[in-house]
């Protein structure tokens, strides 16, 4: 026992040399002086990164969804993609020609090949771009036009000069590429083959109200295209004098939906000639709308509007007719005539 206690006491009394301790502490102080201040920036950096990530997430979640371009089918072989904010109008949409005028913005059009030739024209900014089977875009920005071709070849006419723009290039060459519309159109399926006109017309004859209007002369126009969607509905029979007014109205709407605006107007006038107090004003207003809109014929729109006002002055739709008339007169530069009845 004494031995252990002795050894413990020896250990208690044992001391490290003062100079050794001082030397070590001096070395420690020198080392500490060389050390940079303890860096707290990693913590701040980590915090900053976390806040940035949170901000990105909030921005991503809160950001309104990007406005998608509008895809519109015109007729059977043409589809267009209008970028957001684009103003355009379909000037012509017939079996052989589709003409679209771009006021500003960008319209990408696709023309699918078919049995008969079709002329697709995009016009705007003093430029006319036409093709016979392609995908291309006409963009009008601040009055300046540019054309991007994704497929096929496009002829761009400007001030009498014609430039051929091939796929993958642009006119002018410095134009900014925007392939979103072309990508959308490329992803679209080709239109269904156009079925042959129906061989037989069912005898669906409804009694016309008295007095029976004189039947319209038979139209030389072919029957409207019947798409599979319309197959279940009664077959339209334009120009048949023995059709009910409702059938004519349905045909008019169908033709307008197919882009056959002139035929739709003809069908509306057939109804207007029937002198039906319910349907004739409706058909006249529809004809005025088509003339002032897709057909871009303000003069004819004014003529039809005047007729509607003259024949049905007390109809509830006359207010809209007057508004359309004023709009058409404004397009003709005769806005002052709007005040006159």
């Amino acid at each position: 026992m004494a031995d252990l206690d002795t050894l413990v006491k020896v250990a208690r009394d044992a001391t490290i040399r003062r100079d050794v301790a001082d030397s070590h502490v001096r070395e420690l102080e020198r080392w500490a002086a060389r050390q940079p201040a303890r860096r707290t920036w990693p913590l701040w950096a980590a915090g900053g990164l976390a806040m940035a990530a949170a901000a990105v997430m909030i921005f991503t979640i809160a950001r309104p969804a990007e406005v998608a371009p509008t895809t519109v089918r015109i007729g059977d072989r043409v589809a267009i993609v209008a970028e957001p904010g684009t103003e355009y109008r379909v000037v012509e949409a017939t079996a052989g020609t589709t003409t679209i005028e771009v006021e500003h913005g960008a319209v990408t059009a696709r023309l699918w090949p078919g049995a008969a030739p079709h002329h697709l024209v995009l016009a705007g900014g003093g430029v006319t771009a036409s093709a016979k089977g392609t995908i291309y875009q006409l963009a009008v920005t601040a009055g300046h036009a540019s054309v991007q071709v994704a497929q096929g070849t496009v002829e761009v006419a400007e001030h009498g000069e014609v430039h051929r723009v091939i796929a993958g290039t642009a006119w002018p060459v410095t134009a900014h590429a925007n392939t979103r519309g072309a990508d959308t159109l490329l992803a679209m399926r080709a239109p269904e083959p156009v079925p042959a006109p129906p061989p037989a017309i069912p005898d669906v004859v409804a009694p016309l109200p008295d007095p029976v209007p004189p039947p319209a002369p038979p139209s030389p126009r072919p029957a409207p295209i019947v798409t599979p969607r319309d197959a279940a509905s009664p077959v339209p029979s334009i120009g048949k004098p023995d059709l009910a007014i409702k059938d004519h109205w349905r045909d008019a709407r169908l033709l307008r939906g197919q882009g056959r605006f002139a035929d739709a107007v003809h069908e509306c006038l057939t109804i207007a000639d029937a002198g039906d107090a319910t349907w004739s004003p409706i058909a006249l207003v529809e004809a005025v709308r088509i003339e002032a809109g897709p057909l871009a014929d303000p003069e004819q729109a004014v003529v039809l509007a005047d007729r509607a006002i003259r024949e049905w002055p007390h109809d509830a739709l006359i207010g809209e007719v007057r508004a359309l008339r004023c709009q058409a007169l404004g397009q003709l530069g005769r806005a002052d005539d709007c005040k006159r009845p």
Binding site: L4, L7, V8, A14, T15, I16, R17, R18, L28
Partner: protein, 201 residues
């Protein structure tokens, strides 16, 4: 059991608490003196725990860096030496586990050159260090803290990361084993068998 103490360690001749207060008030001289005093305790403590080896030197180095960095945050609630020994014990445990190696006692010769010959009987100290080497590290740590540095059971428990009763129990077992050892080898007190158990905590 005469060394088991239930009261805090007696105040050393140098007022370490006063030095700590002055050091944290910006007195660089007091800080140097305090660190020097703590170094002397830490080095002896570490050498008794793990022997004189490169590992011991590394531990002392780490402990002194920790003390240097931690001194501004020292609130004076404990004796600075107790605080330093607790840090040294924790760092020694960590580094012994990290090293995971045995240190033959022959290689752990007492670092005589570092001790003050006026106050140190190097031969006796070497005998004690060899005797400590036969103990389990946990018992040895408790014995060194409580018998040699005269920490209370509560202080030793905090330093060892255990309860005061556990620290006291380890101390008692360590002392009993050392007494048995010395009674068996009373004639050749200085020829204690080497052991490989120094390196594990």
């Amino acid at each position: 059991m005469s060394h088991l103490r239930l009261q805090p360690a007696p105040t050393p001749s140098v007022d370490l608490a006063s030095l700590a207060t002055r050091a944290n008030a910006g007195d660089t001289g007091a800080r140097g003196e305090l660190l020097s005093e703590l170094y002397r305790s830490v080095r002896k403590h570490v050498h008794l725990m793990v022997g004189a080896s490169s590992l011991a030197d590394d531990i002392v180095q780490e402990v002194m860096i920790a003390l240097h960095r931690g001194l501004p945050r020292f609130r004076g609630e404990a004796n600075p030496r107790t605080w330093a020994l607790a840090i040294a014990t924790r760092i020694a445990h960590k580094m012994r586990r990290k090293e995971s190696r045995y240190i033959p006692i022959e290689d752990s010769a007492l670092d005589c050159a570092a001790y003050d010959p006026a106050t140190t009987d190097a031969a006796e100290l070497a005998v004690l260090q060899r005797a400590l080497a036969i103990l389990h590290p946990k018992k040895r740590d408790a014995f060194v803290l409580m018998a040699i540095f005269e920490l209370s059971a509560e202080e030793a428990g905090r330093a060892l990361g255990t309860f005061a009763n556990t620290a006291a129990s380890r101390y008692r077992h360590a002392r009993a084993e050392l007494e048995t050892h010395f009674s068996r080898n009373s004639d050749e007190r200085t020829v204690l068998a080497p052991t490989n158990r120094v390196g594990h905590g």
